[in-house]
Symmetry: C2
Subunit: 229 residues, 2 copies
DNA sequence: ACACAAAATTGATAATTATCAATAATTATT
DNA sequence: AATAATTATTGATAATTATCAATTTTGTGT
């Protein structure tokens, strides 16, 4: 799978994405006006800080997480192009309730919250598409919460692998951009446990591992482990 | 605080609530048309089942949770009148990703998903209010996830008490309708732990306990414990 | 008020997962 | 290509929380 596309091709894809959401040419211009680049590891937004922007990921990969004061993170979403980040801040208490970090070099369009809000209020089709995203975000969060809160470590890791494969990369291959630590944070476990459980899954022929790349060989097995709890 | 109101007063409050969301008189009639009563402990919706309805809680109290196959539940929300349940099912895969149960006798208005969707598409003010609810739901879920995934038991219980006091009952008093088990499910812990931790908090004079009623005496202390992780 | 059922409580123990420490492998930098 | 820095891996141990069993308290229905 291609993780990186040249800029012009990427621009076109972004515009296509926004068109499908029902934005007009001028609205597209507005929301793609400000583009910021983030290096791997940089914070895209910081939990607790004032939420000025809604963001659109144009290029690269991000992870979104909740963090406690001891900097233990739980990742609830891996974000691929083209996705909108920060919808939960559109209304409410105006602060980010999560943090977001680039897991590789990424480009993000910043849209002022008020601008985004104006478009929603005047563009019905767009509002409707945004509501779909909210629905999906909630469903994803329920699934993550269920995995992290109600299951044991093997099932949690299987859930993370299924999530990455089916929802994010849409491939049997989970590329090296995802580290053991990312999987740990996604599963709510310590990194050392991930290593051990991946070794078990490899031994059971459910996955193969080549350096940091993970290939899912037996999705049914992962799903059985996931269900077992 | 009053948990139960006579029917006529309640009808008026429900209509007021819906008016504030921007619904017209005829729309209000549509969404309050079908009213169902649930006994304490009854399922209002079942995780995994087909999502036909969006629901409006008219009277009583509900808890929403994610459940695994061994019936271990994690509660992520206590619902009071007047709240909308099931917005996450408005689009997406058409199944409930959570379960919902009455924790006391409750009355719920059922609104067909398609009907709800139609109103959103035609009523801008309502759509905007619904988006606010989505934002709040996401923010609440991030907070719950952070508590359940990143903290230790004392902090988790404090978070649950703070949530119940500030967001749900808007009072220092957490009434007996909330059981030890509810707090356990809300905190992602076993009931026995809740008993022990409540005893600790009582000993520290952070709360007082009279049978099932919990009174918060020192909210600052709870918040310090919550932050500590 | 009585009997039954449900919920809360307490103590003891087991299971699970995190942490720590040390090393190996991989990736990034000069 | 060499070196530094990060990430992955392994084993041993500690900490946390769940589970189990027994008892008490509280709530419900007749």
């Amino acid at each position: 799978m291609k993780i990186f596309s040249p800029d012009d091709e990427n621009n076109k894809k972004l515009v296509d994405f926004l068109k499908k959401l029902g934005l007009s040419a001028s609205e597209i211009k507005t929301v793609t006006n400000t583009e910021i680049e983030f290096k791997k590891g940089e914070n895209v937004c910081k939990q607790g800080s004032f939420a000025s922007y809604i963001m659109i990921l144009k290029e690269g990969w991000l992870k979104s997480f909740v963090e406690n004061i001891h900097f233990k993170n739980t990742v609830f979403k891996i974000t691929k192009p083209f996705s909108i980040i920060g919808l939960s801040c559109l209304y409410g208490d105006n602060h980010y309730h999560f943090g977001c970090q680039a897991i590789m070099q990424s480009k993000v369009c910043l849209v002022e919250r008020t601008v985004f809000d104006d478009i929603i209020r005047t563009n019905n089709k767009f509002a409707s598409e945004i509501i779909k995203m909210y629905s999906n975000s909630l469903q994803n969060l329920y699934d993550r919460l269920n995995s992290i809160s109600n299951k044991q470590s093997l099932s949690k890791v299987c859930d993370s692998l299924i999530y990455l494969s089916e929802k994010i990369f849409e491939s049997d291959v989970i590329p090296p951009v995802i580290t053991r630590r990312d999987i740990a944070e996604l599963s709510g476990l310590a990194t050392e446990n991930i290593v051990r459980i991946l070794a078990e899954l490899k031994f059971a022929n459910a996955i193969s591992v080549d350096r940091k790349e993970i290939i899912i060989l037996d999705m049914d097995m992962l799903k059985r482990f996931s269900c077992f709890g």
